[in-house]
Symmetry: C2
């Protein structure tokens, strides 16, 4: 007979999921009610308003997709891209590559603008591509590349795309709640995020938001949206304003309770305060990592506070270190993805995990484990450097 599953209590400082706020866990275990219950519908309205706040938008179509971030990405592409379209995708890590997959599976052509992994998207290269491909309809890029920790300049890239009459799709999976993001002010047309990063919520939902221009494009499509589950024309009937809610699919009721609570917590803290908190703890973590001698992958000006990718020192066994951190400290940090596998660690400081105790514990644990393995780092320096950074 299979036994109930009791997971260990980890500290989640990888690329996500991040530590879940205990208030969120509690909210999620509250009694399930129907997805058309009037009380639930009222909760949905509150959630929409709070998502609008988190994304800094008045977009009416601002909702959580009932599936993880990858499905949020797919929602943006299958609704905005039609067969035969040209989409310019700026790739500077894993997730730009996933965007390309999405474009091609929509029967469209992806024009790739390649940047180095670990660098921001280059606006000049994008402009070259826009000039070379005047038929392009959409520009897509990642705000916060989870695979490298690089942050791109959304405002500049969106302005550029609009100058060439393109709509924009922006991946904000790792940025939402952790770093500055202003959907309306920056003019983003379609954006998707995840709940398991800087919102401190469980994984399983993907907040998305669409501008009026994006909705006009969706309503003006000549081909049906290839996904029934993600077709916003149908989803809007359930999440839409004012009108009676129509059944589309059964919403993940309890996971939505969790997201609601995490957005209440974000409102209580204040969005700018949350951004500042991520920055504060990043500065301390950075001081500690650099004291150890670990080098960041991303140049300082393009670096995300919530995702710290550092190069693994020469001769150090990646998996052995992560296994020791998990086994001896219940601490999860992330491995490298794709070409960075085995070469970098990704240390997340996201949402509820972005705390002083986590920074100090992570540095102390890393210092000890690297010491145990005789790694070429400056042992015993990390915690003091972080404490000094906190008192600056």
């Amino acid at each position: 007979m299979t036994q109930s599953f009791y997971p260990p209590q980890r500290t989640l400082m990888g690329p996500g999921p991040s530590d879940v706020n205990p208030r969120v866990s509690q909210a999620m275990s509250r009694p399930t009610i129907g997805h058309l219950d009037p009380m639930f519908v009222a909760m949905m309205d509150e959630m929409k308003a709070m998502l609008q706040y988190a994304l800094q938008t008045r977009n009416e179509l601002t909702i959580p997709v009932s599936a993880p971030g990858s499905a949020g990405m797919e929602t943006c592409f299958v609704n905005l891209v039609e067969p035969g379209d040209t989409v310019i995708v700026c790739q500077n890590g894993v997730f730009g590559g996933r965007m390309k997959e999405n474009v091609e599976r929509c029967g469209a052509t992806a024009v790739m603008v390649m940047d180095d992994w670990g660098r921001a998207v280059d606006a000049n290269k994008l402009e070259d591509a826009l000039k070379a491909h005047p038929q392009a309809k959409v520009v897509a890029f990642v705000h916060a590349e989870t695979s490298t920790g690089a942050s791109s300049d959304v405002k500049t890239l969106v302005e550029l795309a609009h100058r060439y009459d393109c709509l924009t799709i922006v991946d904000a999976v790792t940025s939402l709640g952790g770093t500055e993001l202003r959907v309306d002010e920056w003019g983003v047309d379609a954006i998707y995020s995840g709940t398991q990063k800087c919102l401190s919520c469980v994984p399983g939902l993907s907040p998305v938001s669409f501008s009026e221009a994006a909705i006009a494009a969706i309503k003006g499509r000549t081909h049906p949206v290839q996904s029934w589950f993600l077709d916003l024309n149908l989803v809007m009937g359930y999440w839409g304003a004012g009108a009676k809610r129509a059944y589309h699919h059964t919403a993940p009721v309890n996971t939505l309770y969790a997201l609601h609570e995490s957005l209440v917590i974000l409102e209580e803290e204040g969005l700018e305060n949350s951004w500042a908190r991520h920055r504060t703890h990043h500065n301390a973590l950075k001081a500690g990592l650099e004291a150890l001698g670990l080098a960041f992958v991303v140049p300082e000006a393009e670096r995300l506070p919530q995702l710290n990718a550092v190069t693994i020192p020469e001769g150090v066994d990646d998996a052995a270190v992560r296994t020791a951190l998990l086994g001896d400290y219940n601490l999860e940090i992330g491995a490298g993805l794709g070409p960075m596998a085995g070469k970098v660690w990704r240390i997340g400081l996201m949402g509820y995990a972005a705390r002083k105790d986590n920074v100090l514990n992570c540095l102390a644990a890393l210092d000890e484990v690297l010491g145990r393995m005789d790694a070429p780092v400056n042992h015993g320096t990390a915690v003091a450097a972080a404490l000094a950074a906190y008192s600056d």
Copy 2:
């Protein structure tokens, strides 16, 4: 400032979500761990084995899709159907219509075999369609139509489809755990279900299972699967056996804890015992509803125990009754869908909700509310009839 959301404690006797077992709610609120954590991977292996038991299959590819049942449906269609294919869809309610949408969005042709709503799928009509469309590649139908409460004969329909060299896609959203279902013995090629019906789990996941023949068809595709998120070639890399788990998307970790616990509970009870329990409480509910004078939509031989659709008596205001049940008894029953809206109620007895106290409470409440509205029913008879049925 938005307040935390405290849902009321409802009794969920609609078409789903159904009452969640408190053990499941507790499991869901346990600490989140990483989706590649070795402890999590071990939990995934247990879950696969328990899903195989619940579905009575040895299919290696038996996993929960990270999204609700509609996404499970879409997983089956986008992986098995290619542009230009012909798919025979037997429709006897809402969900056959959704299958048609899926087929067409895959660029394939749906040949519809229409049956009356409230009746089982007619094997003779299917055979006529198979003869008329020898190019058909897939036959799709719903085992347990949630919109009407009709049960179809999976074994016979699958045998017929195989005789004409078709693969089969079966919707088992409402049947899994509540009524007999034997994937291997019946030869089903692709099946999808939901967690929020007879498994007593929260909504948000869709168990699916694929036979060797279905996997061969997926591997032999000439067009890429149009959905990146649901592409089983990729999903298998995460859920696959033996090999190292590869990151595909971030799994909904806590919802998977919930499903694990609900499958542990099903194992403890025993699958056949669960089927029998649903039948026992259905018999009592049926006795009560018939004593009141409410007529079932579905003929007895084709009726599901877990979804009881009854005709609303002449002159009775559908919404007023459901509102009174919800407001005065915290009891949710379901409205009719599509052409049955306003004409029927759907009373669910699914999973943890299939209990004696629920049957008696539902009948007492319905009797009182209908009495208050001077409905033409036999007041005061329902509870006694149900109790008599229990002691038979």
